[in-house]
Structures are given as C-alpha cells and as structure tokens.
Amino acid sequence: MTEPIIELRNVTKRFVGVTAVANLSLALRPGEVFCLLGENGAGKSTLIKLLTGVEAPSEGEILVDGRTVHFRSPRAAREYGIATVYQEVGTLPLMSVARNFVLGAEPTTGRGLFRRFDKEKAATLALQTLRELGISRVADGDQLVGTLSGGERQALAIGRAVHFGARLLVLDEPTAALGVRESATVLRLIEKVRTRGVAVLFITHNAYHAYAAGDRFMVLRRGEMLASFDKGEKSIGEVIELMAGGAELQSLLTAGEAGVVGT
C-alpha cells in the first residue's frame, strides 16, 4: 500500500462547549478517492478545516508525508499541495476561462518594465487541461466562465488546482447543485484526477455518487466515526442505510452487529 500523503491521528477538535470531531484517524493516499459521508453537523466541515489549515486540532496530530505538521494558515496547507475546490467561489463568472485558470499564478513574458501577462499561454494551458479532463466543448480561452455549465466550471477549478501542483484535492459537495448529466461529468473528472496520482477527499450527501467514485469510505456522526470500509465491502443499499438511518440502524442492531458496523 502506498504511503499516505496526509494522515490524521487521533485528532480531536473542540470548540467552546462542543466537540466537533472526536478522536478521528484517517489516511489519504495518492490515487485514491476517499469519500466522507454524513449528515449536516456530523463534523465534515470541521474535518475539512483541519485538513486545509483553517483550524488547528485540539488534540492529536496531522502528518504530511509521514512528518508531523502544524498548518498556521490555509496558505501553509496549500504549500504542502492541499487544495480545496469550493463550489460557490471556485471560479469568477465574469472573467474568461484563460484568466480564471491562471489567477494567482499568471504566466508572463518579457522582462523588467516589459514583463507582461502571457494571455496566449494562459489560454493554451486552460484549454489543454480542460481537454485532458474530458471537457471538449470549451474551445475559446476568451469565453466567460459564467457561460460554462456547472460541470465545466468544476472541471476548470479542479484542473486549475491539479495543474498548479495539488496532491490532495478536497471537494466539498461538488455535485450538490448539479443535474444528473453534470454530476456524471464531475464523477468522470474525479476518476481522471485519481488516475493522475492525486489523492481526492470527496465529501457528499449522495450515496450513489460516493459509491460510483470512491475507493474508501467513512461515515461520520456527531464528530465520531460511525463506519469505515473499502470499496466492495458494502453494497450500495448498506451505504444508503448507513447514511440515511445511522441512528435508527444503531438502535436496531444487537451489540455484536453494532461492533461490526462500528469498525
């Protein structure tokens, strides 16, 4: 098994009066899609914040490439190759595909006073990356991002992150606001990114999407791990049951069965 890029060991995060994440351990490996499932308030958002340097753990440690790290800021996490793709603010609708793609890392040509933004190169990079991710409808780097479909926008944001060196891609509900076809596009994107050796943390409500894309799964409930399993270990029916009726399920199980689900 490949070495994890990032690992959480017995991490707990407490806010005043609330334990958001309790004693959680997980490992994210290159070329694997790790699905994080759970209802609202299960601790998914806190977990993302811990991984991306927005919050620091109260207890436990975070390891990158086997070494303990303390992210001081989201920027510090990004420098380790941890990229988050935000659904709402990932791209700028009134800017062109090319300008969006290179934002913050613009290619330049010329020197000194004549150093200028290389628009041709920006367009070439953007279109090439989109094409590699299977988006062929976008053929004009000057096209405004607002005129792209939801799936194409996600592709641009994901392609951008991967192009600029992301090793772990955190996707927070990337299919939540999308239709069936657009969701399929995003799932294909996840597959493409995985085959390039990027680790993907895929947060979703949708068991079908998780089942289609994931290699490993973890179900959270009130900050604790409810279940953790690999692809093929559970049927989609079991996954849906875990997600939808975690509480009812627990109460119906015998002690022995609960032990099985809980590991």
């Binding site: 920027r75 609708p93 200028r116 070439t124 000057d142």
Partner: protein
Amino acid sequence: MAKLKGPQNASAGTISRRSNPLTSLLRRPEAGGALAALLCFAFFAIMAGGNGFLSPLGVANWLATASELGIVAAPIGLLMIAGEFDLSIGSVVGGTSMIVAICTGYYEVSPWIGVAVSALFATLVGLANGLIVTRTKLPSFIVTLATMMMITGGMLGLSILLTGSTSLSATPSGLAEWVFASNYQQFHVSIVHWILVTALASYVMQNTVFGNWVYATGGNAQTARLAGVPVERVKVILFVCASLGGALAGVIETLSFKNGNITLGSQYVFTGIAAAVIGGVLLTGGYGSPIGIIFGALTYGIVSLGVFFLGWNADMTELFIGLLLLLAVLANHRLREWAMGRA
C-alpha cells in the same frame, strides 16, 4: 514526493481560440459605450451640425470636456472594476486646484512645485482612502464621502489661514504651461493626457498580471484571496491612482482657467461614475474596460456641448446623461445576468 507537473507539450496549436467575430465584438465590455457615443454623435451632428457642433472649434470643445472627464474617469473605472467607489475624487480636483493656486498665485513659485505638492497630496488622500477601506472593511461609499467633506473643509480652512482668501488666481508659466495648459490650434493639451492615461490603464488591464488581479478582486474578493491575490494591496494602489487622476485633472484645469477654486471638479463625483458605467463598467465590479470608459467620457462631452450648440438649457445635459446612465445600468445588468447563466 510525487510533485505533479502540469501538461507541457501536446498539440496546443490545433485548439482554436477564437469564436465568431460578431459574437466576440458584442461580448466586449466597450460595445455599449461605443453605441451610446455613436448614437449621441449622430443625433447632435444632425440636430446641431449647422450650429457649429461639427466645426473644428466645436469638436475641440467637446473633446476638451470629454478629455478632462476621461482623465478622472479612467482610474475611477479601474477602482470600480475592483469593486470600490471613490466619492472624494471631486474634492481632490478642487483641493489640487487650491494647492496649485496657492503655490503659483500667492507664493509665486514654479508651477512644478504646485504639481509636486498636488501629487503628494493626492497620494496621501488615496492611501488614506485605501487603508481605511481595507482595514475597517467599511463600504468605500461612506468612507470616501467622509474624506470628500474633510478635504473640502480642510482645504478652505488652509487657504484662509495661508492667504486670507478662498479665491485665488493661478499663473502658469514655462514648460508647465506647455505640458498642462497649451492648445494646438483649438485643441487643448488635455486630449493628449486623456489618451496617455487611457492607454496606460488599458495596457495594465489587458497585458499585466496586476490587471488580472483587479478583475478578480472586483469579481469576488474571496475567490481572489483564495487564489493568492493580494486583494487589499490592489485596492490601495487603485485608490492612489484614482486620486492621482483627480490631481492631474485639477492641475490641467487650474492652469488653463488661471484660477484656483475648491468647487472645481465637484461634478466628477457623479459624472466620473456615469462615464464609467455608460462605458460598460459594472456597478458591482469585476467587469469593464478603459476603452469603454473613453466612450463613456466621449458621450458626456458630446451631449453637454451638443445641448449647448442647440441652444437648449444646460440642464438638458443632465436629463440626457441621466437617461443614458439608466439605460447603461440596465444593459450592464442584463449582461451580468447572461454571463452568470441566469438570463
């Protein structure tokens, strides 16, 4: 560790990056402003062509009006693209006017000293506006309204303290007169300044990394920040540019009219924003172009002088510009909806 490299080679040359020329023309932010300028020009050329609107003097007059507005509106437009307003700009023009008059008219020093003090004054005002807005996160609308009043009041007080008067004459001389207040035939040198300021603004927006940051800052500051754009620095720089644009207009007008006046340029608070919006700048930021603002300023010059040549009351200018502004805001709004995919 496996650092992922982006795609380097591949057949990039085969990708067509241009779509149909008409679509790209209409998609440009300056399309609406160009149309407004063209229609206004056609209207007044037909209605007032015989009254001198098309004579060299007439053309020189509306170009002068447009150019003075354009010098102020170009940097104001960039600031608006970055999502902020500057209402203090009119008071910077007036304040600069007082400074130049106090220096040249009262102390009788070289106009260049007036220019240097004006530039320093404008830089400080811009820095103050920018730092207050970015540090406090208050709307620039209210912050610059406050600085506008402070500048106007403070400058009047300073003028009385130093000279005992608030109305002073300014005396241009030498090279400074040639640079800021000369005419070629009937054409005022401010047209050259307008072209230079716009060319610089256009180059920055189209061809520099900073330009990309300006669009991103106004498009969504949060997204820009996540991508590593120094949003606060971008805004402070643009506030300083806006003030410097106001100072340039103030110097030009004061040395041309040979008179220092605190109310000089007070109309730019509104006409500057109007020119930018008619030129296609989105009120909410993130979209627009300096070339579009040229057309916005040109429209204003054409309408105000067109109304004059027709012999109508000057108030009709306001009516016209107000109507155009309303149409422009509606058109820009529609464009934004379309671009956001909600049309």
